[in-house]
Structures are given as C-alpha cells and as structure tokens.
Amino acid sequence: MTRVTIPIGPQHPALKEPLSFLLTVEGERVMESALRIGYVHRGLEHIFQNRSYVQNVHVVERICGICSHIHTTAYCQGVEALLELEVPPRALYLRTLLCELERIHSHLLWLGVLAEHIGFTTIFMYAWRDREIVLDIMEELSGGRVAHAVNVIGGVRIDLDQEHIHSILARLDELERQVETFLGVIQHERTLQARTRGVGHLSAEQVRRYCVVGPVARASGVDVDMRRDAPYAAYAWLDFQVITAEEGDVWARTMVRVLESIESLHICRQLLNELPVGSLTVRASRRVPPGEAVSRCEAPRGELVYYIRSDGSDRPARVKVRTPTLTTLITLPDQLRGVNTADVPTVLSGVDLCIACADR
C-alpha cells in the first residue's frame, strides 16, 4: 500500500494552537510522525531578563491562557523565597483557591475538547456550559475570567467575605452534581469507551523514561503530584487524594482528570470553610538579593518548574520555565505509531496540549 503524508497543522481543526505534525500514513494506520513546535515562541525567557520582578508577574501570567494563575504562583513563590518573605496564610489559602478553580476549569475545557474530537458534541456543550460556573466565580473574585492577576509578590490582591463564600459554596455543589454526571457517562457510555479505550497507550516505563508529568503520568500508574510531594501554598494544611489509574490510555486520562476535578471541588470547600483571618500581603522590596530558587508547582497539566536567579538588582538575571506540556509532547511520536488515523485527534487531545506553554 502506498504511503501518504498527511499534514496535521499548523492550522487544523483538531488543533487549538499551532503545532505541526507530518503523519506518514499507510492505509488507515500511522507509520511515523514528525513533530515541529515553536510556532508561538515569543522569546519570553529573554523578555524576563529585561523587565523588573513586578513587571514579570504580568508577563508570566500571559505565558498561557488556561493555566495563567499557576504560572504567577510558581513565579511569585520563587521570588518570595529569594526575598525570604513569609506570605500570610490567608493569602496562601486564596492563592490555592484560584489554583484549584483553575484546575477545574482547565479539566472541563479539556473534556469538552476531547468530546468534540470524538464527535460527542453533546458532552462538549455540557462541559463548557458547566465550566461557566467556575469562570463566573473567578470573574467575581478577580475581575477576569482567564487572566486573573490575583498574585502579587508577597501575597494576593483579592479578598472574600462570608456572603461571597456561601454563594461560591452553593455553586460548587451544583457543579459537583454536573461533574458526577460526566463521570457516569465516561464510565458507562459505550461509544465513548469504544473511541478512547486502548488508544494512545503509554506504559509506566515509558512515562519514567520520558519524565512525563501530570494526569498523563498518573493515568499510567506513576504516582506523582507536586501538591502532595512538595507542598506549596496552602497544600500542607489540606487533606486531599492524588488520583491515579492503571490503564494508561486516553480513557484512563479522562477518568483521572474528571476525578481530579471532583477532588479539587473538595479542596475548594476546605479552603473556603477554613479560610484563616489575616492580612493579604507582606511588603516586598523591589531589589532581590542574589540567590537562586527552584519553584515547583502542580499545574493542571503537571509539574511546572521555575528556576529564578537574582543578582541583587530589580531585574532577574535568569528565569527558566519548564511547562508540563513539553514532557507529554515528547511522547507523541511513540503514542501515534501504529494508531488508526481516526484516533489521531483523540490521542492529541488525550495529552491535553498547551502549546503556548510549551513554546513560551
């Protein structure tokens, strides 16, 4: 049979962001794939060196649209460590609240995108409708649906009162009912299982070799989660479970993400019910004494690492960002080998790519 080369991207209905795959297809099977990224490379690491620490909080937020808050969290944490600041507990709780709300919204967005790619438009519509609940809450808290600008070096700039807390808790209950419905669909609906089971398999061994992180790693049985392993923000004071699965296919990743969303809802309830009193920020000086910090957080897609080196001025000497999507991109040629062409969008969706994060 002849081999055909099918280009997926940089513009393609299956991709939300530009990415280029050249698939070599024989009949209905993918033989090889060649990956090319960098279409939205903005040279941010160079830009960081030319902005002050405070300005960089805003640049860092714009690395990604979906996981903007976790980027600022990781960055601010790193700078706060270099300044040896002790951020007030109330601020840490609020920071964590936004982190978990962002995780829920990211997973719901992803669920809709995956459903759309396997032709299950109904779930796409429902997931994105329910995601509005979370986006509304984030907008009330911060003024923005996706770019929240909640973190400042030394704390947060938002606050909540009791009435607001009750209103949010009520809506989180409603959201939990909806997410439980999705869980039921994923566990029992046969066409969805037919399209996602056994597709895009990664073994635990492959996960370790490629240093994969996040739900993709957890779905292959590798138990890593920075919230538990390197507790940052308020996680040391919270009680939650890390979700793993054994099958290592797209279905397992779906299960992991939906169960994680439910777990995040529990975490949000703890945060809101146990919110400590206190101030929201602590004063941070503009100049940061020389030093180095490695800040690790758990973004919705996995471990996010920031390395920051300061040289005593008000600008960082180096900010290095490693986003979780890079770790999953490297597995894609392996996942796509031998896969049915119709499953290519499913595999690409299954790893939850955020190319803006990967390219920076």
Binding site: G119, F120, Y126, A194, D343
Partner: protein
C-alpha cells in the same frame, strides 16, 4: 399543453424542486433546533438554513489547480438530480406522480447515486483530506448499504409488490410494517443514518480529523448545491421510510392525509435528531465491523423470516 404544464408543476413545484427545497430547509431547521435544545443551547432562528444557502451561493468558488473542474461542477448536480428524481416515485399524500411496479428498486438505486458522487467528489478534488475522506465514504457506503437494501426488501416481499405506493396502501389495510418487522425497521433506520452521514455515522465529514472530508475543497455555489442535495436526501429518505414502514399517508382517522404524513415524517426526524445527540462518532473500522458483523446478519435473518412468513 395541459400535460406539459402539469408535468412542469410536478417537477418544479410539487412534489418537485420547490416543495423539496422548502422541506429540506424546514427539516434542517427542526433538526438543528432539536439538537440544540438537547445540548442546552438555543438553536438557530427559523431563517438560518435559508440564510446559509443564500450566503454560500454568493461566495467565491475555488478549486485546487489539479482538480478536475468540470467533473467537480457536475457532481453536485448529479447528486441533486438523483434525489429530485426519486421523489417522483414516492407517494406524498395519496399518489406518487410516477408510481409503477418496481419503483422501490429504482428509488433505492437513485438514492445510492449521491454516495457515489460524494466519493468521486473527494477523489477528483485531489487534496489529501478529500481523498482520504472519499475512501472513508466508500467504506461506509458498503457497511450500511447492504443491510439497508435488505431491510427495505422485507416489506416488499411481504406485501407482494415492489412499488412503494402499493406497499403504503397495503399497510393501511393490514398493519404498519414497523410492527410486523421491527428488526427491519430498525435496520432501515440505522442504515439511513449512515446513508445521510448523520451523527454517529458522520465519519466522512469528521471535522476534527480530515478537514471536511470529500467536500473540503468545494466552496461557493458547488458547496451550496451539495448541502442542498444532502438535505433533500434527508427529506426523501424520511419520506421513503414513512411510506415503507409507517403506513404512508393512509389512515382510518378522519384527518387530512398531508397532516398524517407530516406528523409521521417529523416524528421520524425527531428520532434521528435524538439518536444523533446521544452518541460519540464511531471510527470507520468500528462502523464497518458493526455493519458486517451485526447489521448484515440481522438483515439476512429478517429477510429469511419474511420469506418464510410469505411462503406460509
């Protein structure tokens, strides 16, 4: 002269182009509304299908350099012509304009021409997405067409006639074929989903995988006519199903035949919309497997049962 005028009326107004055009747009709107409401959305306004058609007719028409231009221009016309001709043998109301013994076979043949034209459209417009989509369309065709044909043959055998009108009349005297051959009805229903490339069998058009499949390179007027022919095929397919399985326009109730026929057709459309919302899209190999391992054997069993009953 009167014959000429009457023929022109049949071809152009009722039940020809004019009637089918309006029905196609109305059915599309109802389908989109039902789908939207089930998905928690509002759905498009009533004039949306008409607006989409008019907009497409006015758009620029481009094809890739290597595509066979004249063939690509002719193919949507072929598809449209086949569908329009089919409606002449389907009774809407009490009579079909051109009923004759064996018109069921002719109708089924004509209704499979659009599928062939669709595949050729993909093949002849040369881009990678179109070719892959075209080959998928052909695979899908083979998966559902055989069970569909066998399922529609059942009522014909039982009623002793291969004319749609006669089958419809027979049902008014006995009982709806849907009740006598429920399996056959289900097979025809599922087969029609595949024929119309509706969800969950909209594989050739799978947006996320291969652009728009065979029609990726079509635009403007050609694309408008393709969509129109597919919408009209939906209407004609539903009319065919109503006549062969649901008793057509005949009824003991003292209501106008148009109303009865309309209600049955709309209920069938509703069923299609609901089924479309409920499932994820199958992969082509899963559909082919379903077609040959489940649908075709069931159709075979149903046909044997029908023959056995007929012999008794």
């Amino acid at each position: 002269m009167r014959d000429l005028l009457s023929a022109l009326f049949t071809l152009l107004i009722f039940p020809g182009f004019g009637f089918l055009f309006v029905c196609a747009l109305v059915f599309q709107w109802i389908d989109r509304q039902v789908t939207a409401r089930l998905q928690g959305r509002i759905g498009p306004p009533w004039f949306q299908p008409l607006a989409d058609f008019v907009k497409l007719m006015a758009k620029e028409d481009v094809l890739p350099v290597n595509a066979h231009e004249r063939a690509c221009a002719a193919l949507p016309m072929v598809s449209l012509a086949a569908v329009l001709t089919t409606v002449l043998v389907i009774p809407i109301g009490r009579h079909a304009p051109n009923a004759f013994e064996g018109d069921l076979i002719v109708a089924l043949f004509l209704l499979s021409l659009p599928a062939l034209a669709y595949f050729l459209a993909g093949w002849l417009s040369v881009s990678v997405f179109s070719v892959v989509g075209g080959s998928r369309a052909l695979l899908q065709y083979f998966a559902y067409e055989v069970p569909f044909l066998m399922a529609l043959g059942g009522p014909a055998i039982l009623c002793g006639s291969w004319s749609i009108s006669r089958i419809a009349v027979q049902q008014s005297q006995t009982v709806w074929m849907m009740f006598v051959q429920p399996v056959g009805f289900l097979l025809a229903f599922v087969g029609l989903i595949g024929k119309l490339k509706r969800s969950p069998f909209d594989i050739p058009k799978a947006k996320s995988e291969i652009g728009a499949g065979p029609l990726t390179e079509f635009s403007g007027r050609k694309l408008a006519l393709w969509h129109l022919s597919l919408d009209m095929k939906t209407v004609v397919g539903i009319f065919l199903l109503v006549n062969v399985f649901l008793g057509g326009s005949f009824t003991e109730l003292a209501v106008p035949t148009a109303l009865i026929f309309g209600v049955k057709a709309l209920l069938t459309l509703l069923a299609f919309s609901v089924v479309g919302v409920l499932y994820a899209r199958l992969r082509i190999d899963q559909l082919v497997s379903l077609g040959w391992r489940v649908l075709a054997p069931l159709a075979l069993v149903q046909t044997l049962v029908v023959i056995w009953i007929g012999v008794q």
